[in-house]
Symmetry: C2
């Protein structure tokens, strides 16, 4: 593959001149023409590797997500990718496959690759194992989940507010026995979202029944057993609140499998609204996160750090959620 040296030979100008031309500096008209011809003739493409070695930039950022087949992560990546296009960066995608070990591995890999920045959606809130990667050499932005005892840039949603509003919504519809499929509290979003549920009960002067709280893994296929327990409680819940996409999915699956009529036998409040919910009937009332926005925002912050702008560091951006109303929640009129 042709190098800058080959171009300088063919064009009969010096390497420096070619380099300057490539980087947008002014060169004499005659030389410009000669260089352009040589480039075309040799089909020269600049070697970003060599350039990166010199400029200490790779024009690449890395992202580490727990899964690449989870729609939440995919939309995150879509947001990141589309924003990256604006600044001409490319993206190395890494899946930590929900393994802390792999997460470490991948971050190390990205650092070796000298990416200009890293976006991480951490597996859990435990920062001890990850802490050492947070030297200031490469900027890192956290998404979706924060890490304990690390002050870092991050983009998350108003988690507590999201479930608070959802729970309040259910209470207003007359529900007091509301089951929640919560994540484990060592996961940032699990902890925060449970908090919103508890707050809503407190603000409404209602007592929380702990048997209505089920802790499940935020992973595909998890939670069926817990949902079963919830639904078969002696004193049954009249409504169930799921707190992320995976649990929403599991709830729907369980209820369909067991012929439980959503919105009739039991009310249901979901979390995250992907295609899938389009084809469930009745339509599901859900908390909707601005996922694409989260991705885009994280890139914007990261890019400022890459360019040395640490003015507002550390910045924790919290995005608002919305409620999308469907027909999965029945109003209970008190007798």
């Amino acid at each position: 593959m042709a190098t800058i040296k080959d171009v300088s030979n063919v064009a009969k100008v010096s390497i420096g001149t070619v380099s300057r031309y490539l980087n947008g500096y002014y060169v004499k008209e005659v030389n410009r023409r000669k260089i352009e011809e040589a480039i075309k003739e040799l089909n020269f493409k600049i070697n970003m590797i060599a350039k990166g070695l010199k400029t200490n930039k790779t024009y690449t950022i890395g992202v580490v997500v727990p899964s690449v087949t989870d729609p939440f992560c995919n939309y995150l990546i879509e947001g990141i990718d589309s924003e990256l296009e604006n600044i001409n960066y490319s993206l190395i995608t890494c899946s930590s496959r929900n393994s802390v070990e792999l997460e470490k591995e991948k971050i190390k890999l990205l650092k070796n690759k000298r990416v200009d920045g890293i976006i991480i959606m951490p597996i859990n809130s435990d920062s001890t194992h990850i802490l050492k990667y947070f030297e200031k050499d490469i900027p890192i932005v956290l998404i979706d989940r924060l890490l304990t005892s690390i002050s870092s840039d991050a983009v998350v949603i108003e988690n507590t507010e999201a479930t608070y509003n959802a729970t309040k919504y259910l209470i207003k519809k007359g529900h007091t026995r509301i089951g929640i499929v919560s994540g484990h509290t060592n996961i940032y979003t699990g902890y925060k979202r449970l908090q919103g549920y508890l707050d809503a009960f407190q603000d409404s002067n209602l007592i929380v029944d702990n048997s209505l709280i089920k802790y499940v893994m935020y992973q595909k296929g998890e939670g069926l057993e817990e949902i079963k327990e919830l639904i078969n409680l002696k004193d049954k819940p009249t409504a169930i609140l799921a707190t992320n996409y995976e649990t929403t999915y599991s709830c729907i699956k369980y209820m369909l499998m067991n012929n439980i009529k959503i919105g009739k036998d039991i009310s249901f409040f979901g979390f995250d609204n992907f295609d899938i919910l389009d084809i469930v009937s009745p339509s599901i009332t859900t908390v909707v996160q601005p996922i694409i926005e989260i991705g885009k925002e994280s890139v914007k912050i990261l890019n400022r750090r890459i360019n040395g702008d640490y003015n507002d560091y550390p910045l924790i951006k919290k995005l608002k959620t919305k409620i999308l109303e469907g027909s999965s929640i029945k109003e209970i009129v008190s007798k």
Copy 2:
């Protein structure tokens, strides 16, 4: 950030020794210890950029897919990513967003980045615009779709066989008026899959009614109008065959929206089985592709090319599909 030179200084051995240590060659026990200490002390990480400049390798491959929010592409990426882990490569993911322009752009970008190889799922079969990127400098493997007039490594499925078997299955169940939601024939998979449908009719000595063939875009949200036409034909089809995930999804959505009972009012044969079909009732009979396998296989071929093994070039690997039986197909007993 510490360099190999710093390490050699601290460890009091030569640069060469450090380099050899890093690359797995044998160094004297004493030196090994000193080097390891120095590395830990300096928190040294090898600079892959510099290594790449020398070895002309980036240990990175690129993949270009039409979308990063389409489950088919996601599972493809999952397969690629997991296989890449075995050979310690990382992956630059690019979305062409179903735009030929962007597809060109992304390939060019990957070439500039000097990735060691590229995997492409082309948008359509038209190779003219893409042809010039197929110089032998960087190995390319096509997936899912072939390109006209380019001989290249590729991993696809037995497309014609897949729909042939599905159509035969329907015919055996007594269906003769089978509507097909086909892709446009300028897309490799669209063309091949339609062929299977036609072949099955011919082999069964049945006449194909062209009004039962609808051509739709293989993209999210497409096809609702065509499905409507199909279902509202004067002489209605008794069964419908979708030919990819997007059209399967659209069919299900249309039927649910219009309260058409799948497996009762009309039989339905889907294509690709993601989570989503888990929560549709009745369960859908589908053609199942070995998607993860396609991804893994493409990496295996690519890796051999990267290592200079062009023995069986060009290799077009065709993987088999299976039929997953659900309850969406009714048997018609002739009166």
